[in-house]
Subunit: 323 residues, 4 copies
């Protein structure tokens, strides 16, 4: 099965950090970015963030994507990147804020439905805490679960996919691990509720990402994949394949074996890099990994997994992969 | 509610590591250790490991504990510390090994029942993997779940408590996080199945231990607590309270608030320390934390948790706690 | 010896991060902040960042500080927080940028001299790299060493203090550890060149901060101390004493023992907190630690360090410290 | 320049850990191991540990190595793996132990000279501490420096190479980073004193290993290289190349560029693996990396290091390396 590739278009926005709030480079207009991506042969899907002025005129938005030949594979509902969410959104003690956050999801789902986008991403950057004694855990989760329930029941023709992350921007996030995401998915219990794995978030939580994917796949709940790379200790959001290698091969193998037919989508932050160049190289790396898995073949991998001498497994793979 | 303290008696055994296999000091005979602990005023419970020659004569074992005035609060069934388990026990691909491991648990449960010990600890040090491409994740979990099911159904008058740990002795362990433990507890689904939190394992997984406890408590599944300390990046199994402080206070608060009436039990590894001295100081630290929570009182903590200025929360606590 | 406290006034600025570039709260005008700090009884010093409009009129700047009764204990020369430094400042391959960065230091030293500020902080957030194969290490260090040499020789009546940090904003920073800072100090070799320890940076590098301080003190090169707290894995820049405790006590002991007479200065980032409240609590924590060390006394600590039973050391300290 | 490979023969010993002190498999007799290695075509050097009965009859030891066609490239002087060193060796407060540890080095140097072994490895697993307030840092370093001085002055025809490591078996080791090793090398100041980089120790200290090597090379002090792999957070001592990839390529490039003509030597711990299989695969991985660097060529790498678009650098390398 051929892999399909998408890219989160925020890679082309103006990126900054706490030291350089004014950004490391100018962002590009979304319309221009769509044109640029439309010319990238291997990319057939995009991800966007709601709210955005792009969605002000939905028929025009649809037309733009259609003319560019791009599928909108995911919209991320943003309840993280504004000051109003600073102390939490879906778990907020402030009922007004909590309701407002739920409404952002409802609107995003409605927009997604109009634009034939199958899925809305739920990542909660601010729902967590920084300090010991800062929140009441069980009360916070009760509110969070209630909110997720209110979201998924809004309409069942759009999927909601929970993306877990251990930390940042808070020092601790409520939905920190793949199992916590699955716990919430099962606790809320809805067909249209599943989870997104971001490779970098998994690495940062000392998860083996293929194992994390396998867990969600075994429960039928892997809805989406975000790719990037890092040095394990922080969500560096680097170009795919510039730090790790074997982890990706194993992951792609497990995805193909389970018949995962979703997109392999990029979530990278090229602070100091040319974003197009970073995107293209990331896709080429994914193509490399996907090609390696296809060439070796699923049956051969299954055989390797029953091989007891791990040195021989790597010996075999080494000879198949490198010039 | 007064806290009850127990100690895992392996603290008095002969400890080594991969560089000093011959051990850092001589261990003490179990009978002697029981005598020593019987004189430690604040300790009323002990934990033991099965198999052990101590259990060869169960009536005598019962008598020894009774004379020492000590409750046997937990028996850890060991399927980690022998060469035969090197590649996994409850998830082993070798059906003979898997069955043998299940049998160790059955025997431990039977012994526990005779000795009025309410609970058997399930920690799986070898069930995991070191290398990418070393195991088939979903097949391994299927076997693991099957084994846990076979264990809990052996008898329902003894509880089984799963202790999670991210790594060591394998680089990756299948039951790595509090949520993974809870996942297995819920997947197997038995009244007598719950989970143990080891404070050091939680710290090592970048969990906030009070939050982890709160999760299990909210599901009625916190069966046991192991205490020790570390520098977050490894399971150093140090004397309680020698690295962290606030985490313990918060944890004890959540335990008391939920009416947790189990033991606070020690799982420490005093490689180079006098074990009795290390045990006594660990218990004194726990008494300190428990006393602080009692003195401040649960209602006051609840009030603090709704205080929005976290600096003021710490200011209040600081004044209450330090001379 | 009584401890002296200072605060880096950027704690009162408008803080953001890569997700909330528009900031979590409004910053306060520097003149107002100086007034606020002047009323904080225990704080007698401040740190500022150059360039800043505050330095446009130096006589007035001097007057403002004087009227507020505050010493300017350090000026941080900023070659990190603007886009132009994105790929490095003092190690830049672009000779124009490198020279411009050196000039920022020269100007800062001149301003410091006018304002009776004894020391300029040298922290290089961008001098490092994100990717493997991104920079030529030895050539980069050669340029970095050359730049530091050019800086310290500008004038010898103002000290330059190198603040090391392992990562952020780059994934890898050239001056990452206390020993790397000392290496550069010794390689350049100037009386007015030393190093700053930021407690959080030390924790993040798995250093024991008292040991790091001891190393610089033994070489006569500990010029300044920055205080904050974190969970070891990132430079969270939290309120002092909200995560760690014993590390601070040990650090303060080593500082007092060596007769360190510099300021204990705050470098915190209260994103979602009231900055004054965060500053005050941090100072109170430092006062607590300082008071504990004074009360126990240096001779007693020396005695404890020769005590072989570490459990007894903590037992003694526990009884001295907690109510 | 062709790479030369060696192997630390402890890979074939009986490996255990704190849970399986009785070992995961039987070790092999050293004489047999030498025979086995003599047949491994690509391996021309070995490392051994002193003391060992192998050195009881030095003429015979020389003869065995000679007949096997193997060079003894390094002897590791062991002052870690016995109970007597538990609280430190070269930094011990016990002058008797300190002197005894120095004597182990003197003996090892004498043995090395007889066996034409150019270098003795100095790794201090126990010289450090576990707890805050456990040692007096400056006094410990003074003793450590004195000991190293006494060692290097014993004879100048054998080199001493300091291998740093951040932790294990202690939670904190005195010689933790590449810069700390270099600090001691420079402080003691002897031509025959340099440092060993263990790739896994560098990864564990969040060092980029090519940068660490570059630092020692620039000071003429890189005496030896140990290879293995890990997941960054612990010294897992795994088969080379099973976790990381690009780091090795960059490292080998910097070694070749500097004309490093030492051995690439293995320091792996195959707990559950066939040791020969693990050794052979590690060597094949090193050959792969070395071959890649040779094929691309040093001038091309130099060109890549001045390329500003890092995505293009990885794109170029990707096409050169993978089938």
């Amino acid at each position: 099965m051929k892999s399909k590739y998408a890219v989160g278009l925020w890679a082309f926005e103006s990126p900054g950090d706490r030291f350089v709030l004014d950004s490391y480079r100018e962002g590009q207009a979304l319309d221009d970015v769509i044109q640029i991506i439309s010319k990238a042969e291997k990319i057939s899907g995009v991800e966007l963030i709601y709210p955005s002025s792009f969605f002000d005129d939905l028929p025009m938005a649809k037309e733009k994507l259609s003319q560019a030949g791009l599928s909108l594979v995911m919209i991320g509902a943003d309840v993280t990147c504004k000051r109003e969410w600073a102390n939490g959104a879906l778990s907020s003690v402030d009922e007004g804020i909590r309701k407002k956050a739920v409404k952002v999801f409802h609107e995003t789902m409605d927009v997604a439905a109009v634009l034939d986008c199958p899925c809305v991403n739920l990542w909660l950057g601010q729902d967590g805490y920084d300090y010991i004694f800062q929140v009441d855990y069980s009360k916070s989760w009760t509110r969070l679960l209630k909110s997720v329930g209110e979201i998924v029941r809004h309409r069942n023709d759009v999927k909601i996919s929970i993306e877990y992350k251990q930390k940042e921007p808070r020092t601790h996030t409520f939905i920190a691990t793949v199992e916590k995401a699955l716990y919430i998915v099962q606790k809320v219990g809805a067909d249209n509720l599943g989870a997104t794995i971001d490779v970098g978030h998994a690495l940062n939580a000392y998860e083996n990402v293929a194992e994390s994917a396998s867990l969600l796949l075994s429960e039928g709940k892997l809805f989406h994949m975000h790719f990037n790379d890092n040095y394990r200790l922080w969500d560096d959001d680097m170009i795919v394949g510039t730090v790790h290698f074997w982890e990706y091969i194993e992951l792609i193998y497990y995805l193909k074996r389970a018949g995962y037919d979703g997109y392999l989508s990029l979530d990278i932050f090229p602070y100091r890099e040319d974003p197009l160049s970073a995107v293209i190289e990331s896709i080429e790396q994914l193509e490399l990994f996907s090609g390696i898995v296809d060439r070796i073949g699923l049956p051969k991998f299954e055989e390797l997994l029953s091989q007891k001498d791990i040195a021989k497994v790597f010996g075999f793979l080494r000879k198949q992969i490198f010039i």
